[in-house]
Symmetry: C2
Subunit: 258 residues, 2 copies
């Protein structure tokens, strides 16, 4: 803690691949060029953790690394637990920015609902912190993140300087390409996972697999289109999931006077 510089931005980092993953190590080095960094990340891979929390068991926090401007903690909880615990028990003051990732695997379209990377971002947003999630469309545990560094820093600088609207956070996805063809500020594509289960070794047991179908492959304003066309997809998300357009359709169920 004593090594933190007064006046520098404080950046909290988490992920769902665990504190040892390559993506979070790259992100830590990038963010340390912008400010003081505190990493609080799961002790092991938590892919598909969504916004899950740990209500029934104690959650453990262990200091792993302490060097000038960088503190790294491992946490036995979920990505959301990491952000909750960091914000109450670790950070010396409100973070100026929370970033999550870089996830090994994309979190575009509806896949963001399952994502622990995005879960950590939503949690930070619920706490009122500006927050960005970064994910790369890859299945490799080790890969070259250098093509995405400029955009990662550009988006982080933008949020540090201009902030984000209340209850809004960013979900940034990258295609695996040697060179990005651009950036697209975009919406979530509509999609569907199909053929999700394969029989496991024992009868009555199944393993999750599945195939993603983009339901609007020709819509250039979507995150999937951007990824399919070699661009970074920058999608603003809102915490409020209310379907305002549906309120009127449901009026016959309402007895409250408007």
């Amino acid at each position: 803690m004593y090594s933190f510089m007064a006046g520098k931005p404080l950046i909290l980092i988490s992920n769902d691949d665990g504190y040892q993953a390559q993506g979070i190590r790259v992100l830590t080095e990038l963010m340390s060029t912008l400010g003081d960094v505190i990493v609080v990340a799961p002790d092991s891979a938590r892919s598909g953790a969504s916004c899950c929390i740990t209500p029934f068991q104690p959650v453990r926090l262990i200091l792993i690394e302490d060097r000038p401007g960088v503190l790294v903690y491992s946490c036995s909880g979920s990505p959301v637990d990491c952000v909750k615990l960091a914000s109450e028990q670790v950070v010396p003051r409100r973070p100026d920015l929370v970033v999550s990732g870089i996830n090994h695997g994309d979190n575009a379209s509806i896949s963001l609902h399952y994502s622990g990377t995005v879960g950590a971002v939503l949690e930070a947003c619920m706490k009122g912190f500006p927050a960005i999630g970064y994910s790369l469309r890859t299945l490799d545990h080790e890969c070259d993140f250098s093509p995405y560094e400029d955009v990662i820093l550009q988006v982080a600088r933008h949020v540090l300087e201009k902030g984000l609207p209340v209850d809004t956070c960013l979900n940034v996805n990258f295609p695996q390409v040697p060179k990005l063809l651009g950036t697209s500020v975009c919406r979530m594509a509509r999609g569907r996972w199909v053929t999700e289960w394969v029989p496991a070794e024992k009868t009555g047991e199944f393993r999750l697999a599945g195939e993603f179908h983009n339901l609007e492959p020709d819509a250039p304003d979507t995150d999937y289109w951007a990824l399919d066309h070699g661009m970074a997809a920058i999608c603003p998300l809102h915490l409020d999931m209310t379907d305002y357009a549906a309120l009127e359709d449901l009026e016959s169920l309402n007895t409250r006077r408007r």
Copy 2:
């Protein structure tokens, strides 16, 4: 399977409190008055499971009960796994309705992001099934659900008859009252969880607790207001979390031609 009646609606049920919870047993009996029922629910309590999935382990399905019009399966996975597995491996055809709950504990405001009950509903919605989640503001494991039966059936009948808009599902919350004072078709309140951790027995370990702060207690169009005023809160949710209003604010990050 053979006991199902041709022409009756097929209703899939899940929850996050486990197949043995009182809330899902009540919901099963209520839904069996509307159609044939298949329950696929976790084998134990999964509160706070959100939309988490089980990517790394096999998931087991066990038939627990088979009586005319009602099949009950226990599943070793999360609520979302239950719906995914049910829809591919259990139901004989597309369900006409998916319901989740009745959760012991409310899932209003931002708490829905953590909810396994709502996770199952969002998953059903992602599969294109009309879906409703029901939750009761209570901490009791056993309680009287009779004050809510009429509204539970009314909302289910509405959805069976009229359907829901594409990518929209319903999050219904009840206050614990002897008699409901009405129903409110409403939006999510803005809220925040604070003071979330208490030290556990061991140093460096913490237990999740926390207190919810409603950030707009005077807004009568919110779910929390409805609950605080003795009314059922019926909130339509949309799968698309894009913050459309923010797209323009972020235009300086965009290089794609609009």
